[in-house]
Amino acid sequence: MTTTPAQDVQPKTRGQRFTGAAANYIDERTSISGLVKEVGRKIFPDHWSFMLGEVALYSFIVILLSGTFLTFFFEASMVEVHYEGSYAPLKGIEMSAAMASTLDISFDIRGGLLMRQIHHWAALLFVASIGLHMLRVYFTGAFRKPREINWFIGFVLFVLAMAEGFTGYSLPDDLLSGNGLRIIDGMVKGIPVIGTWISYLLFGGEFPGVDIVSRLYILHIMLLPAIIIAAIGIHMLLLVINKHTQFAGPGRTNDNVVGSPVMPGFAAKAGGFFFIIFGVITLIASTFSINPVWVYGPYDPSPVSAGTQPDWYIGFADGALRLVPPGWETEWFGFTWSFNIIAPLVILGLFIAIVAFYPFIEAWITGDKREHHIADRPRNAPTRTAIGAAGVTFYAVLWAAASSDLLATHFKLSIEGVIHSCQALLIFGPIIAYFITKRVCLGLQKKDREIALHGYESGRIVRLPHGEYIEVHEQLDDYELWKLVSYEDYKPLMVRPDAQGRITVGQRFRASVSRWFFEDRIAPVSQKEIEQSKDEHH
């Protein structure tokens, strides 16, 4: 940058002349200079947790690249063939063309297995990093105005990613994924009124039919990716418009962004990070086996493997199915009501809806219409953090329940014991997690207050002239202090009559929720308190 004026005087090298001409050519046809001016020096704050969304984005690019390679060889057809490839234990076995081509990719195309494993590991990482990214956004309150809509788009991306994962998992038509589809079929059939027909139309006849792989394939490689790319586009556009949040820090306010500019520092980091993510995925894919479909064999409705599980992100749904107590099915008016399927669907639906709409719920409770660009420390929003911990626990129990049989064999327990424990944990776990987390947050806030007012305990004991012993507290400097005292504080809503002098039910409800959220708040330290405490110490 500083050398720019010097360049004007010196004669340009050939490379510079070429770059200049090329840039001119493009700009005269696209007016791209405007975009570069707008975006090129945008500031991105630095914090490790702000990179998680990038992990998701980059693993998605890796998925696109490796997936494209796979489409060149994969045959999305359920036509029955006799496998004559090079994997001996399946020679001569009847299987679908989809399965046979998957085996060919694995065993007869150089780098094919590598690409399959890159694709699958990247897919697991994609969903996992979205999950972690969402947790970061949630626990730092980065979903508050003006980012509620972007949270929702991100949520949609999470659901789409799971859909992508599940459709992809089903494509090879192996025993594991076939039984997965069998479970989907069973669940769909359990939906009241329309279930039977939805399943019938989805599978193009009776399960498994000969259509499902090609139908899922077109969803997997065209429709879902197209929607995902569009949603990512909007997600990132809103990111640029809203600018990134930042953690509280000296000099940082709600009205500025502090960090490194896109060009060149952030671009180099982010670009380099893409290669690192790609590299890490490739390293995992070249050393760790994933989804060995040849071991599972082709789909056949008769066999099943012990330890049949979906990929991790569908685990919570599988766990919910496992945890239903016996006998939840009945007949009313001649129709069959499968509550052992309806109940998990409704519960998961509610859970997902709460996740999707949480920002709007919290905005309604606080009534805060201001923009928020400073990320909260989780402890400074104790109720939100506690709700999050409860949600994480709920999800984790369902997830663990999906591997109940493996938990049983690996920890020498009985399946029945594991299931019963998970059932109890599903109800009590979130409650316990809520209270523990809330207490921990409030405790940390109190500690912060204590430190802000009285400094750190230095461990140094001093005897005063009049004989009293005191421990010397080391005061914080202004920069450290600022991190501890700068946070938003809310108080419970007071119920007040509206213009007509009435108190509506909605108002009462909101007031009670607001009380639940904020009644045991701990206010940030004020300047007066600081001065008072200083006086005490002197």
Binding site: I93, A306, W312, I415
Partner: protein
Amino acid sequence: MATKAARASRRSQPVGRRHPLATVALLLVGLLGTGGAYALFTSSATAETSASAEALVEEGGKLFAANCATCHGLDLEGTTQAPTLIGVGAAATDFQVGTGRMPLAISGPQAEQKPVQFTEEQIQALAVYVASQGPGPAIPADMYLTGEGYDVSNGAELFRINCAMCHNVAGAGGALTEGKFAPALADVTAKHAYEAMLTGPQNMPVFNDTNLTPEEKADIITYLKYLDETPSVGGFTLGSLGPVSEGLFIWIFGLGAIVAITVWLTAKSN
């Protein structure tokens, strides 16, 4: 392919089975070498029992009385604690004692594999003794145990249909009810695998010779051997537990490593 498998087997198994003709040779050896005992178990019309076989039965009887009779009864009639052994045959005895499951150490949901308590000869004596008290399935002939010359893809299919639901497709084992489990099959000897199918130890169903013929059992054993000896093409298998271990791996190690990288990435350089 065949020669490669043979070469692979030679590397990992120092004993015998070197030549493609091994099947034939083993057939002969199987019939002749263990001939005495073999003929005794299978045919009720044993023409002449050699003196050594009688001695074997006698030794087996002593071992049985000392180690097994407390639970199974002196006359193999069984007690409230243990089932009768009349008619279980040499195969069941060889499996239970040869894998260390018997004698039972502690009562639990099921008898588990543990260090073997007896020598080869003692196990043989016990098997002969139990077989002498009532006819039952015999110890399999070696010709079915080579894992060579049989149809590996048929074995794999039969394995998926008859075994994988409990033992997992990769033979990694799986859970049963009330704390019981189907054990992992890696490195189970061919003989014990065959005997397990034949006799249905504990809660395992019986796969008698009309359900899975000896040739089909040999096919399955060939597949198990293939699983044991073929390297995992994809890399480390994470216990062959499928999506659960894959999911845990990507969260803990994959995402863990990446989070560590993001910390480095965003740390201020000095």
